[in-house]
């Protein structure tokens, strides 16, 4: 087979995948960008160039929502990592019931986010919810707390539920990383008289560092795009306190019927995620180079 034919054959093999990706990724993205350049009211659209982007730059709601997104993502990711790593270290040390514990810890991750959010919505219900009932029974609170009704507790509640859902994934990644660390390194450290903290600092952490960066980047990308939990539990309220960008997009598009503006917010969010993706790819490449 000559080179030209081989090239054609190669293209023919790649074509189905390329077409599929174009249909499910490139076309929707291009269409979203096209929509963002229009003033859309229902089925009527008028071209306005970058008008929607100019409007966004001027819109206090967008900036507020961006701030909420960063606050939500930063706190959720920090807790995912902290708790996930701690649990992974504990499970890794266990000799018995490790598999059973893994399954138990993974359960929240197996539950669909919308289903988990609905369960928590009822658990946190002020009058009839189990959380308030238990806290009152224990004497921790005197009156029912409106967990989702006050800005501070609402944001904390959705972060807590996201942590409940997101920790297992990080724990699993960390556990996999911990199990790749050669046992000889720990034995050598022990011979040198290293205690638990020193072993963690000089053996575990350096071996896990790459994985932590990858997990953090992936988790940030995943969390900043997250809609389900907040959409179900608060819809962005009260008074916009939990209105992260995906919820703002939903509210603008479907409650507000302003699809052009919603598409512009979507493109802005895509930009943020792309920057994070570049960080991830660079980190992965850097590590690949150092390992080689």
């Amino acid at each position: 087979m000559n080179a030209r034919l081989r090239r054609k054959a190669g293209l023919a093999f790649v074509a189905p995948t390329a077409l599929f990706l174009a249909a499910v990724i490139v076309f929707p993205l291009a269409h979203a960008f096209y929509t963002s350049l229009h003033r859309v009211r229902g089925l009527n659209a008028t071209f306005i160039g970058f008008g929607n982007y100019a409007r966004l730059a001027d819109d206090a709601t967008f900036w507020h929502s961006l701030g909420v997104s960063f606050a939500f993502t930063a706190s959720a990711v920090a807790l995912h990592l902290g708790i996930g790593l701690a649990l992974a270290l504990v499970v890794n040390e266990l000799r018995a019931a490790r598999t059973a514990l893994r399954i138990v810890f993974l359960t929240p991750w197996m539950v669909a986010p919308a289903v988990g959010a609905t369960i928590w919505l009822w658990l946190l219900e002020p009058q009839f919810g189990v959380v308030n009932y238990l806290l009152r029974a224990a004497g921790a609170i005197a009156a029912p707390v409106a967990w989702l009704g006050e800005p501070g507790t609402a944001l904390a509640s959705v972060v807590a539920v996201d942590v409940w859902r997101g920790v297992p994934f990080v724990m699993l990644l960390m556990l996999a990383g911990l199990q790749t660390i050669p046992i000889e390194q720990y034995e050598a450290a022990s011979i040198d008289g290293a205690g638990a903290w020193t072993r963690f600092r000089f053996v575990t952490w350096p071996n896990l560092r790459y994985l932590v960066v990858v997990a953090t980047t992936l988790d940030v990308i995943n969390t900043i795009r997250h809609y389900d939990i907040i959409g179900v539990m608060t819809g962005g309220g009260p008074a916009g306190a939990t209105e992260v960008l995906p919820v703002l997009i939903y509210n603008t598009a479907f409650r507000g019927n302003r699809l052009g503006e919603a598409a512009a917010i979507g493109v802005a969010l895509l930009g943020i995620v792309l920057v994070l993706a570049v960080v991830y790819v660079r980190t992965a490449r850097l590590d690949d180079g150092t390992r080689r």
């Binding site: 229902g42 089925l43 009058q127 409106a146 008074a239 507000g256 019927n257």
Partner: protein
């Protein structure tokens, strides 16, 4: 060889003819989506309506689209954008018509006999029109009034025959009805337009207006009587301390739950809420009484929702859809809805129907509804204004009562801009 080819062609033609015939025998399928098909009190009625319609029209199959109330509009918008919306829908007519999601019904309406058309008043029809064209047939509605738990009222030493007439009297009652882990009422601040419905009623009851006559300006703060009413109503949760906690998460569902469990003694709601309450707690049957909302001005109107059935712009079978809408608007189903689901009929000819009059509570709602304004308000941006902007302002004011003036001034500015941006 030639014979084989001939046979193959004959088989292919026969198969094609069979498939065309089979397709022709398939019934037309029209989908039906309203916010209420998932509500248990309505389920027996709509199931029977569909069954009898299909029996009478074997060529048409009606497929209900079950969707939760809060997702109803968004699902409709998404489907409309994809040109795949259900044929028969009940949505905010003005907003949906402005966005091009609905089909004008004048062709069908004008073709109906005068006897059918006379069952709807011009005023009622105008609530389903946009730019002079009819986009929906008003089917059922709900008048909002103050609903009281008779047992709790009597227990508090109050007379059910003399419900509060003014705001001050309402607070006086409220204080007597509030006790340990029990409140007089609930302030609605949850993220649905029910929050807006109730707020509008308090504003009107104080002689205020939320908008100017042609809906080009918002006057929540600009009109002093409106602002006074807003502060009074939201103050029930804070200043007067007679409302259940967590108002920013309280919607129709939470409010009716609280009432059904005896946690609150009164609620501002429509007749259908009583069916919901009894469904949740059968012990509440016959324990409610209803009165006009308290008001500080004479002849203050209450609010009546108008739910119209429309045909989506993407409907492939509008004739079949109209046939079902007409069937559903019939007296039989209007009465069934009123008796089973507590939804009030909107046809003129049913106001004095003996079966309607036989239900004293329904009769009381009908009387209160004689002085009511139609809802939703007629503006293309109303769906968003009602469910987002006004609710956000209410939530902010509930969280920071001392900033109520500023919050509603901002709302006026924001809404006025939005009202004019069409």
């Amino acid at each position: 060889m030639n014979r084989s080819i001939g046979s193959l062609i004959a088989v292919a033609v026969a198969a094609l003819a069979w498939s065309v015939g089979a397709a022709a025998q398939q019934p037309i399928v029209v989908q039906w989506q309203t916010a209420n098909l998932t509500e248990s009190q309505y389920e027996p009625v709509w199931k029977q309506t569909i069954a009898e319609f299909e029996a009478a029209n074997p060529g048409i199959k009606v497929e209900p689209v079950l969707v939760a109330r809060k997702d109803h509009w968004t699902k409709f918008v998404a489907a409309s954008q994809a040109r795949k919306a259900p044929c028969i829908v009940s949505v905010d007519v003005t907003t949906a018509a402005y966005n091009g999601y609905l089909m004008p019904l004048d062709k069908y309406w004008n073709a109906e006999p005068a006897a059918f058309r006379s069952a709807w008043s011009d005023a009622m029809l105008s609530s389903a029109k946009w730019k002079g064209q009819l986009y929906g047939l008003p089917i059922w509605g709900g008048t909002y009034a103050e609903i009281y738990n008779r047992d709790l009222v009597v227990k508090a030493g109050l007379d059910p025959n003399k419900p509060p007439q003014t705001f001050d009297e309402y607070v006086a009652w409220g204080k007597k009805l509030t006790g340990n882990d029990r409140w007089a009422t609930a302030v609605l601040g949850g993220k649905t337009d029910t929050t807006t419905r109730v707020l509008l009623m308090w504003i009107w009851a104080n002689g205020g207006e939320a908008f100017n006559a042609d809906m080009t300006e918002a006057t929540f703060a600009k009109n002093p009587r409106s602002l006074e009413a807003i502060k009074f109503y939201l103050g029930l949760a804070d200043k007067s301390a007679i409302a259940a906690p967590a108002p920013t998460t309280t919607n129709y569902l939470e409010q009716t739950n609280l009432y059904a469990q005896g946690k609150i003694a009164t609620m501002r709601n429509a007749y259908w809420a009583i069916a919901k309450v009894v469904g949740d707690n059968p012990a509440m049957a016959g324990k409610s009484f209803v009165a006009p909302p308290p008001a500080n001005v004479p002849n203050a109107p209450t609010l009546s929702t108008v739910t119209a059935s429309s045909i989506s712009a993407s409907c492939q079978h509008p004739d079949a859809a109209w046939k079902f809408i007409k069937f559903d608007a019939d007296r039989k189903w209007s009465i069934a809805r009123a008796k089973v689901a507590n939804w009030m009929p909107l046809r003129n000819d049913l106001a004095d129907d003996p079966e309607i009059k036989a239900d004293p509570l329904l009769g009381q709602f009908v009387r209160i509804g004689r002085n009511a304004r139609s809802y939703p308000l007629p503006h293309p941006a109303w769906a968003e204004i009602a469910a987002n902007d006004i609710v956000d302002a209410v939530q902010k004011a509930l969280l920071a009562p001392d900033k109520t003036d500023e919050i509603f001034r901002d709302l006026d500015a924001r809404l006025t801009k939005k009202l004019r941006d069409i």
